[in-house]
């Protein structure tokens, strides 16, 4: 948002004159996973727009399932990479542990295994997997050789052993079956349970999920306000009734919008709701924040006017072209929406319209941030103008687009963006921005923003899980959510917590950042690194179990070559190749990106081999973007 940009040029009451206060957005940009998050959203929107099944519950279950096994490994590999090491045997190890456990529990006999119970086989295979990790780590530490070479050796040994033992004991490269083991029914629930989506119609779900989204959105907005604006003490309670009126109007609008039908009424109630949100935000600002004493006068420099003109021109050109090319014959048949779609007249129209519109809006945003530098009034004027542009765009899409999801969902999303922009511009005009840190406000703002994101995510999940019968017709494949997704979430959460909050996490960053320095202050560097290798092999074991219970029969080559996908996911998520920097959450997002592109491409009707082109481009883009973001963020400080 335009109003957050110009904080760097203000002389602040900080002790060192070379350090200016960094606003919340700038601080957010330093987070290593932010580039990946933006990329993930863009890719989701892209596949949501070009394919039918991608945004549905079935499609989501499909790509989340791929993301889960990839993500569990990516998170562990990211931890190891932060610790400054690689593990090239990680991929082969997932297949190896799966084969190992089958060999341990398969019935004895002509083509049999050890015949152990799963109650023994599963813990035993975990111990053996951890042993491989320990061996990798100890070898790297003792010899001082690069982990690249040591684990490359381990990779070939494991790959060969998988094939060799499979042929020796089973005379085939397919190893099965795990359901011959005792205790299968219990362990299947842990590693291969499936939660089938509730297909019944959840009547009041609209209110429910829209409510969650709105509460989440409001929390995010208030949180960002807390992070950005200067708080007054004591608070001005006069703002409270205004907040109440705003909330009431918002709720009335929301419920009436849901209850009424018919275009005109919808618009009226939507307007009431929007006004309520704006009034509520103003009330909160009045209640908690200090008035802006220095709004300045409306000054539009020639540069700002030129940029605004260019932006408006691009936007108008996009709209006009979109309308003119509309007369072209439309492709009715969804089946031939394939790679050549982009070359048809309809595709050309979409590209020109979307491309020009986005370019126009970006130029307008730049103009707003430039205008903000001369005075707050000018910045607000340009921001409001941009919000108006977004609104116009929303209505054009609503009247012109064929696909219902563009007509309704994109329309609402754009209107919401315009509303937030306008509200933000007005708040920024009347209330003073922070020029220094305020820990209490930062804490509150951060909790509100995070809580808002969680609520909004919950809203989206509710939306996905409870689908109307009428929508079921468009679903492709089964809508089953596998338990591996839950394991993935647990792995990402635990790894994030370990890295952020535990001594081991701190030591991981330290040994990756500077091994000699961490040794000097008493960090057990060798032990930390060995434990990191064991975390990777433990994660490989978990994925091996998920694969074994899912597939029942495992190919000897399972997992080979996957190790680079894990590394790519970690790097896309902002992990530094040289160690010492990165997050587990970033790696998880990286895994989502890879899974979305891997599954989205066949959904779009394109040959799935294209995914490697896609993957490579994403990797390069992510590294460049991360590099750029980190440099600008650091330069801005």
């Amino acid at each position: 948002m335009a109003t957050d940009v110009a904080t760097a040029d203000v002389p602040a009451s900080v002790p060192d004159e070379r350090l200016a206060y960094r606003g919340p957005i700038q601080r957010l940009l330093v987070q290593p996973e932010i580039g990946a998050l933006v990329g993930a959203i863009a890719i989701w929107v892209f596949f949501w727009a070009v394919t039918v099944p991608f945004g549905t519950a079935g499609g989501t279950a499909n790509w989340l399932d791929v993301a889960a096994t990839l993500g569990i490994m990516a998170v562990a590999v990211a931890m190891l990479m932060i610790g400054g090491e690689f593990d090239l045997s990680a991929g082969a190890m997932t297949g190896a542990t799966a084969i190992l456990v089958i060999m341990l529990v398969k019935d004895t006999g002509e083509l049999g295994g050890a015949g152990l119970s799963l109650w023994i086989g599963i813990p035993l295979s975990l111990v053996l997997a951890l042993g491989i990790g320990w061996f990798n780590g100890t070898l790297v530490e003792r010899t001082g050789l690069p982990s690249f070479i040591v684990t490359l050796g381990a990779f070939f040994v494991i790959k060969g052993a998988k094939l060799g033992f499979a042929k020796l004991f089973f005379e085939t490269i397919q190893v099965g079956r795990i359901d011959e083991g005792a205790g299968y029914d219990f362990w299947r629930k842990i590693f291969s349970a499936v939660w089938t989506r509730n297909d019944h119609i959840f009547n009041s779900r609209d209110i429910f999920y829209v409510g969650l989204l709105i509460i989440g959105g409001v929390a995010i907005l208030v949180g960002l306000l807390e992070l950005t604006y200067k708080r007054r003490t004591p608070f001005n309670l006069g703002g409270l009734p205004i907040t109440g009126i705003g909330v009431a109007a918002g709720l009335v609008g929301l419920f009436a919008l849901h209850a009424t039908d018919g275009i005109a009424a919808n618009f009226i109630w939507a307007a009431v709701m929007g006004a309520g949100v704006a009034i509520g935000a103003y009330g909160i600002a009045l209640w908690r924040f200090e008035p802006n004493q220095d709004r300045g006068r409306l000054q539009l420099s020639s540069e700002v006017l030129r940029l605004a003109g260019i932006g408006t021109g691009l936007l108008a050109l996009g709209v006009v072209l979109g309308l003119i090319l509309d007369s072209a014959p439309k492709i009715e048949d969804r089946e031939i929406v394939n790679i050549f779609f982009l070359l048809t007249e309809q595709g050309l129209r979409a590209i020109l319209f979307v491309g020009l519109a986005i370019a126009g809006l970006v130029v307008l945003l730049i103009a707003a941030s430039r205008a903000k530098k001369s005075s707050d009034t000018s910045g607000a004027a340009l921001s409001l103008y941009t919000a108006l542009g977004v609104t116009v765009l929303a209505f054009i899409i609503r009247s012109e687009a064929e696909a219902p999801k563009f007509r309704t969902e994109l329309f609402s999303a754009l209107l919401l963006i315009a509303l937030v922009m306008a509200t933000w511009a007005v708040v920024g005009l009347y209330f003073a921005q922070r020029r220094g840190p305020d820990p209490a406000a930062d804490r509150l703002g951060r909790s509100l923003a995070i809580g808002g994101v969680l609520l909004a995510t919950l809203g989206v999940v509710v939306r996905l899980l409870f689908t109307k019968d009428s929508e079921l017709a468009t679903l492709v494949g089964q809508t089953q959510f596998r338990i591996s997704i839950l394991w993935f979430i647990i792995a990402a959460a635990v790894a994030t917590w370990i890295l952020a909050r535990t001594r081991f996490g701190s030591w991981t960053f330290a040994v990756g950042g500077s091994k000699s320095a961490s040794r000097q202050v008493g960090v057990p560097a060798a032990r930390t690194k060995t434990q990191l290798f064991m975390i990777v092999s433990g994660a490989a074991w978990l994925v091996g179990m998920l694969l074994a219970f899912r597939l029942n029969t495992i190919q000897a080559s399972t997992g080979d070559g996957k190790e680079f996908e894990y590394i790519i996911a970690a790097v896309v998520g902002g992990t530094l190749l040289t160690g010492g920097y990165g997050t587990a959450a970033g790696a998880a997002i990286g895994a989502l990106i890879m899974a979305m592109s891997q599954q989205g491409i066949p959904f779009a009707g394109w040959n799935s081999d294209w995914r490697f082109v896609f993957l490579g481009s994403i990797l390069l883009l992510a590294v460049l973007a991360n590099n750029y973001i980190r440099k600008t963020a650091e330069a801005a400080s």
Partner: protein, 288 residues
């Protein structure tokens, strides 16, 4: 003396086989005083540090900590008695935040049942407070140490050593890689540490840095002690002369003149150098 000195060295010598690295070094470090160890390259400064820090053992002589004679077996022994060393590479991890660096290896933790995690609030607060005591206001302890200036990075290491119970702080050439202004900042931190009652051993080859902060000067040259003076026993110019080795400086002047005989520009330089040495010698004699 009512109280024994924090650290006392008597006739310390160190031999590596037949190489004599250090002979007959005597000095002392009092609480709330700065002892400067001066010497050019190869004067034996690093051997001196290693003995006090416990990395090496002296071959002869005695080392007393608060009056007790000790012989360090390892750096851990020295650390246990409150002798902390801040090496030139500072032992900080540039990509990590200030508070993480401050507490690295000794993080304060909270626990509930089997779960133990870092008490971040406390770590962040203490790091900020300790840095403030050194005269640095860290606005955001989440800031990466790599984004701090060289002097501030030094102070993170110094504040960390002081917080973790150091009584004697050994600073190995803290100003050698810094610009003029940053060096001044570090000298200020040395004084701050002194004012907090620490005994500071400040190793440097720059007498201009040593003079303003030092209470006591030990001058080393080619492994020998050139003397151990309290501040009122010596002048700045004497210090500079002694450090460079007066006789050697004159010899160097002659050599430079010989080399410069054929080169005009160089001859000019040699002349200036000779003049400077002369002025310095005159001043030294005047003071006497």
């Amino acid at each position: 003396m009512s109280e024994p000195a924090l650290l006392e060295l008597e006739e310390i010598s160190k031999h590596y086989g037949n190489i004599i690295a250090l002979t007959g070094v005597t000095t002392l470090v009092n609480a709330g005083e700065v002892t400067c160890v001066l010497g050019d390259n190869g004067a034996g400064k690093s051997t001196f540090i290693k003995i006090i820090a416990g990395a090496h053992q002296q071959s002869e002589g005695t080392l007393k900590v608060e009056g007790e004679e000790v012989m360090f077996e390892s750096p851990r022994d020295a650390l246990a008695l409150g002798i902390a060393t801040v090496y030139q590479d500072l032992a900080v991890v540039p990509l990590m935040s200030v508070w993480r660096n401050f507490f690295l290896g000794s993080e304060p933790t909270k626990r509930i049942g089997p779960f133990k995690w870092i008490d971040k609030e406390k770590a962040s607060r203490v790091a900020k407070e300790e840095m403030a005591k050194m005269g640095i206001d860290i606005r955001d302890t989440e800031q990466a140490v790599g984004t701090l200036s060289g002097g501030e990075r030094q102070s993170v290491a110094i504040a960390r050593a002081a917080y973790f119970g150091a009584k004697v702080l050994i600073l190995d050439e803290p100003t050698s890689a810094l610009g003029v202004k940053q060096s001044g900042v570090v000298l200020k931190y040395i004084l701050e540490a002194r004012n907090r009652g620490l005994g500071v051993i400040f190793i440097t080859h720059n007498p201009n840095h040593a003079w303003p902060v030092g209470d006591r000067f030990l001058i080393l040259n080619r492994g020998k002690s050139m003397g151990n003076f309290a501040k009122d026993e010596i002048t700045r110019d004497e210090l500079i002369m002694m450090m460079a080795g007066g006789a050697e400086l004159e010899e160097l002047t002659k050599e430079l003149e010989t080399v410069a005989a054929g080169d005009e520009a160089l001859a000019h330089l040699a002349e200036e150098f000779a003049e400077e040495v002369e002025v310095l010698e005159d001043r030294t004699h005047d003071d006497e």
